[in-house]
């Protein structure tokens, strides 16, 4: 089972600058993943069966992630709260004795709807993955007038896995826990801005790419700096200036600089940002 994230209670005291990153928009978690992705992440991380979800434990971990995301000042889209309520409802139905079923009727598992939704979602993700492969094949045949356009760009021939937000969050938590000796924030009113940290990350990657996500974060001394660096990495990912990959599921996360420099048009990206507010 995964460990619970560090208590969120101490967050506001320790990360005052991170809590108010003046420049830049607030990141909306939904622009990366949805609540079902978080559930699937927990199911994979805990190696549990999708059809027999230990709902109490999953519910607890799900809520812990929501708290962690709030601690990171990630704006949690309403869709996540809807799912949290659904999980709580299923949990209560699992704990309470089932209402007497009509004669000849097998009472349905309270989790059945959720399992159906997760399977349907998985199936849709496979369909999306196959569309991506079809897209990649199609992009190998150049037609007239399209010569300047490569729908895949540097992602072509990429065998590595894209990293989900939750992989990043899990890795980040490990760094923060492993480096519990990090100096607590001494308040000298010194502001750590996301913009400065973005510049720092890019310069670190320019001198050596790829770098391990954890090493990069660990270079920073204080918890507040690390939280800001995490937010900066998310922002760079959103802008497609960097890419986060891992060579196998649950593996080490590598951060690489995007080449060539930012796509003039990362379409459908802007849509995701606003879509879940």
């Amino acid at each position: 089972m995964e460990q619970i994230p560090a208590s969120p209670d101490e967050a506001p005291r320790e990360a005052p600058t991170a809590a108010e990153p003046a420049p830049g928009p607030r990141l909306v978690v939904g622009s990366f993943e949805g609540p079902l992705d978080l559930l699937l992440h927990l199911i994979r991380a805990n190696e549990i069966s999708i059809t027999d979800i230990p709902i109490v434990e999953v519910c607890r971990q799900y809520d812990a992630y929501l708290l962690l995301m709030k601690e990171m000042n990630l704006e949690v889209a309403g869709d996540y709260l809807v799912m949290a309520a659904t999980l709580a409802h299923i949990k209560s139905r699992m704990l309470l004795p089932a209402p007497p079923a009509a004669p000849g009727e097998v009472p349905e598992d309270p989790r059945a709807d959720l399992v159906r939704q997760l399977l349907e979602y998985q199936r849709m993700k496979l369909a999306a993955e196959s569309l991506r492969e079809i897209d990649e094949r199609a992009a190998a045949a150049f037609a007239r007038g399209n010569a300047g356009e490569d729908p895949l760009g540097p992602w072509r021939d990429e065998a590595q896995l894209d990293v989900s937000l939750f992989d990043l969050l899990a890795a980040f938590r490990r760094v923060v826990e492993a480096l519990a000796d990090a100096q607590p924030l001494h308040v000298h009113g010194e502001e750590i801005s996301v913009a400065d940290t973005i510049a720092w990350i890019v310069s670190r990657l320019e001198t050596g790419s790829p770098r391990h996500f954890q090493d990069l974060i660990a270079e920073l001394g204080t918890r507040a700096e690390r939280i800001v660096a995490f937010l900066a990495i998310l922002e760079l990912l959103r802008l497609r200036r960097i890419r986060a990959v891992q060579r196998r599921a649950q593996g080490e996360i590598l951060i690489t600089l995007e080449e060539p420099p930012p796509a003039a048009e990362a379409w459908a990206a802007e849509g995701e940002e606003k879509g879940n507010a």
């Binding site: 869709d79 939704q117 199936r123 045949a141 760009g153 879509g275």
Partner: protein, 222 residues
């Protein structure tokens, strides 16, 4: 180009080319396909070359497709979105890419691909139905897909709120190199994959996307 059937006449650069009224149909079609950026349908060709030549056009297109299916040729005639177009041989892509600079690349984000997959497989489908599966409000991704002409509005569903029904476009087929939606892998293949991952979909009453009676769209137009 593979074996041009009409030898190119020696024409001085400044004198106008002599028209060839009796050029073979195959050469005419080859020239048109080369010049057109969009896939050309037999209907388009019949409209300019004469409806009576329709069977000959179909035959010549098939012949052209065969002529280009040659390891010596750098080009291919591809059937796409119900039409034909000339493309480079996909196996030569590494060389072509070397020559072309990618300034204008557009990549479909994961969320966009997921939404597009849902529309492609379950069309006609409404935004609330997409949200039910993805767990996330799809409205702005749909707006972006509409902007890029990957999806279109087919009509409105006759339920409360009369939500728009979405479907894929010709541009979708062109981008993904598909002749028709039938070229997409079937949902059964994905179920097979889920099973190999240990997720048995059978014990659950799992509505089949293909079989699920899609509500007839009320064609009120966008």
């Amino acid at each position: 180009m593979p074996e041009p059937e009409v030898p190119a006449g020696e024409v001085a650069p400044d004198s106008p080319a002599e028209p060839l009224p009796d050029a073979p149909l195959k050469s005419i079609l080859e020239a048109i396909l080369f010049a057109c950026e969009e896939p050309v349908t037999p209907e388009d060709l019949a409209a300019i070359l004469g409806e009576d030549r329709r069977p000959a056009i179909e035959e010549a297109l098939a012949g052209l497709e065969k002529t280009y299916d040659d390891p010596q040729a750098g080009l291919r005639v591809q059937r796409i979105a119900g039409g034909y177009r000339i493309t480079t041989d996909p196996r030569l892509a590494p060389f072509v890419r070397e020559m072309v600079r990618w300034r204008n690349r557009r990549r479909l984000s994961r969320a966009a691909l997921e939404t597009l997959a849902l529309v492609a497989y379950k069309q006609p489908i409404t935004a609330p139905e997409i949200q039910e599966i993805r767990g996330v409000n799809p409205s702005s991704i749909l707006a972006s897909l509409l902007d890029h002409r990957m999806v279109r509005i087919l009509g409105r569903k006759k339920v409360v709120g009369k939500p728009f029904l979405y479907g894929t476009t010709q541009d979708f087929l062109v981008r993904f190199g598909l002749d028709s939606l039938d070229d997409l892998p079937s949902m059964e293949e994905f179920d097979q994959l889920l099973k190999t991952e240990g997720l048995d979909v059978d014990p659950l009453p799992f509505p089949d996307a293909a079989e699920e009676a899609a509500p007839a769209p009320e064609e009120t137009g966008p």
